[in-house]
């Protein structure tokens, strides 16, 4: 009986939402005014682009690769959105579509030549950053009106960031975790050889997963510009680390295709909230990045603890 109540598997699944709930309660307790429509809106606004970037990273981690360029990529998209997409929409759309295809092609290249994704994406981060500097040499530009309108949408009762996060988690969850198509994509991370023997093209799977990552990276950059209304080449560089941390916080693993879209979104929101929490604590802002690292380590430690309970049974 007791085993069913506290099954380690359940515990592990509950870890991300429980961390988020604990953090939210702590914030409400420290700053009761955040417990309102506008409070939550302010608190969670910037979580939307981070969640989108985290989903992008999740697709890459799902096929046992790692993307160290997503932050620079989101910055590049933000720069294009604030300039080309605003001034000459057709050129902007073409450029962004080209970037998604480029991302897929990189996945294909990594697979064909068996390249280490860490090194390739580190090199790519330079390429994206350089392109961003070329597109927008000095901070500026302006957000297209429709993106601005969407990101500042005043939805009834529930603030827009919450609706957007839930929709994002739900859609990706259904597509990746509940569909036959998603099972094949994830299989490439679990056992690529078995999948290849069954007649699936790993090359196409890698292309698809990287292109999906590029697509969500594009959405992340557009959402970010919608909030900040202008861009600069370094605007989202920290997203690289945040996105990896978000996936891991949400229960994703590094190998084996074990990821969770819902967990990833929760992880991203948790990290975004952690910054607000620390400022409410009046903690020295110097320690903000460090605290995110500490939260990551604590959650990983809790996970080890749960696994050990599992082993003892």
């Amino acid at each position: 009986m007791k085993g069913a109540l506290f099954s380690p598997r359940l515990l592990r699944g509950l870890l991300p939402p429980l961390s988020l709930a604990a953090l939210l309660i702590a914030i409400f307790w420290l700053q009761p005014r955040t417990m309102s429509y506008f409070g939550l809106n302010l608190l969670l606004n910037l979580a939307v682009p981070i969640a989108l970037a985290t989903i992008a990273q999740m697709f890459i981690l799902c096929v046992n690769e790692l993307d160290l360029s997503i932050g620079a990529f989101v910055s590049l998209v933000a720069c294009i959105t604030a300039t080309w997409l605003h001034d000459t929409p057709l050129l902007g759309v073409l450029a962004l579509a080209g970037l998604v295809v480029a991302y897929g092609a990189i996945g294909a290249l990594i697979h064909v030549r068996q390249l280490p994704s860490i090194v390739v994406t580190l090199g790519l981060s330079f390429v994206w950053l350089g392109l961003a500097v070329l597109v927008l040499p000095t901070p500026g530009g302006s957000a297209p009106a429709y993106i601005r309108a969407l990101m500042t949408l005043k939805t009834p009762l529930v603030p827009f960031p919450i609706i957007a996060s839930i929709a994002l988690a739900g859609i990706v969850h259904v597509a990746l975790m509940r569909s036959a198509w998603g099972a094949i994509l994830r299989g490439a991370g679990g056992n690529a050889e078995a999948l290849a023997r069954a007649g699936w093209s790993i090359l196409r799977i890698k292309f698809t997963m990287f292109a999906l990552a590029g697509f969500f990276g594009v959405l992340s950059g557009m959402a970010l510009v919608g909030l900040t209304t202008s861009a600069d080449a370094n605007i989202a560089l920290r997203y690289t680390l945040l996105s990896i941390a978000g996936v891991i916080l949400g229960g994703g693993e590094f190998v084996g295709g074990r990821v969770s879209p819902i967990g990833a979104v929760i992880g991203a929101v948790t990290l975004a909230l952690a910054a607000s929490f620390l400022s409410f604590l009046r903690l020295n802002p110097d320690w903000q990045i460090g605290a995110q690292g500490a939260i990551l380590i604590i959650v990983l430690a809790l996970r080890v603890l749960i696994s050990q309970i599992e082993r003892h049974r």
Binding site: V119, V127, L129, I244, F254, G293, L296
Partner: protein
């Protein structure tokens, strides 16, 4: 004939050829003017790259998933702590050095403890710890830029017959590390673990002890580099380690060390470090702006890795 074939098959050859080609291209463009100065600068900056790359090389050689991402944070923290402790006093130079190395020792130990106790991939362990060390550096630094002792600053810029002293020191370090890699039980253990961890364990190699020593050594070298770089650039800056994240990995891989582990070489590190610096210099000389420079640097690094992987597959 077989002698030439042997040289052609050396993994470090391409990095050195690349460095030479880039340097010649720059020299042709400027008509040979300032080529010696460029080389001297390349030796100085290359030395900093090589110090961290030596550690990163041993880490990467341990096998897939082994990378130290905390190098930039460790460098910044070590540089900051050392500069603040010395406060510009010449007498405190050894103290500063000891503190920088101690910071490295601590960072390496903490990294390994995380890897072992949480049984998480080294990438995520060093990534999470680097957040904390970077914060510690920001907090300790408080936005101040304390100048290094004059004597120490002079040491990092001194030259003997036009050759930077720091380059000579690092060349000596590289020779020692080459011997450590190829002639000691430790070096052979690292290579063996990278080739097949289970087989290495069954052969009686102390796998965990070797891994611990490698991560600690890597961080200690990063601490040393942070100390020297802060002295060279007139104080510790909070972003001083930033570019070393990519370059420490790029230098190792371009130098011909297998990124899948189990196969390392030291001479390639120097070739790759010179190549990377001379490449940026060449693009600068050609009048490329910051954007073009970044794009080309990234593309060339990716190109080298694509080419290197193809070569290794055929053999």
């Amino acid at each position: 004939m077989s002698g030439l074939g042997k040289i052609l098959r050396q993994p470090w050859l391409w990095a050195w050829l690349g460095a030479l080609a880039v340097w010649l291209a720059t020299a042709v463009f400027t008509g040979g003017k300032g080529s010696a100065e460029v080389l001297s600068a390349a030796l100085t900056f290359g030395a900093f790259y090589v110090i961290v790359a030596l550690g990163q090389m041993f880490v990467i050689t341990l096998g897939p998933g082994n990378v130290d991402l905390s190098i930039p944070a460790c460098m910044t923290l070590a540089g900051t702590v050392a500069m603040k402790a010395m406060d510009g006093a010449a007498g405190a130079i050894p103290l500063g050095l000891a503190l920088a190395l101690a910071v490295g020792l601590f960072v390496g130990t903490a990294n390994y403890a995380l890897i072992r106790l949480l049984s998480i991939p080294p990438i995520i362990a060093t990534l999470s710890s680097s957040f904390i060390f970077q914060s510690a550096a920001i907090w300790w630094n408080r936005g101040l830029r304390i100048k290094p002792p004059v004597a120490l600053g002079d040491f990092t810029t001194a030259r003997i017959a036009g050759v930077p002293v720091i380059a000579l020191v690092v060349i000596a370090m590289a020779v020692v590390m080459h011997v450590v890699l190829t002639r000691t039980v430790y070096g052979q253990s690292v290579t063996a673990i990278g080739q097949n961890r289970r087989a290495a364990h069954l052969a009686g190699i102390a796998v965990e002890r070797t891994r611990a020593a490698t991560y600690i050594m890597c961080a200690t070298l990063a601490g040393l580099c942070g100390y020297l770089l802060a002295a060279f650039s007139g104080g510790a800056a909070l972003n001083m380690g930033q570019e070393f994240l990519l370059s420490s990995i790029a230098v190792v891989v371009i130098g011909g060390t297998s990124v899948a582990g189990g196969f390392a070489n030291v001479p390639g590190l120097w070739g790759a470090a010179l190549f990377l610096f001379l490449l940026v210099t060449m693009l600068n000389t050609f009048g490329a702006g910051a954007g073009v420079r970044l794009v080309l640097t990234g593309l060339i690094i990716i190109g080298v890795i694509v080419a290197a992987s193809g070569g290794r597959r055929r053999t």
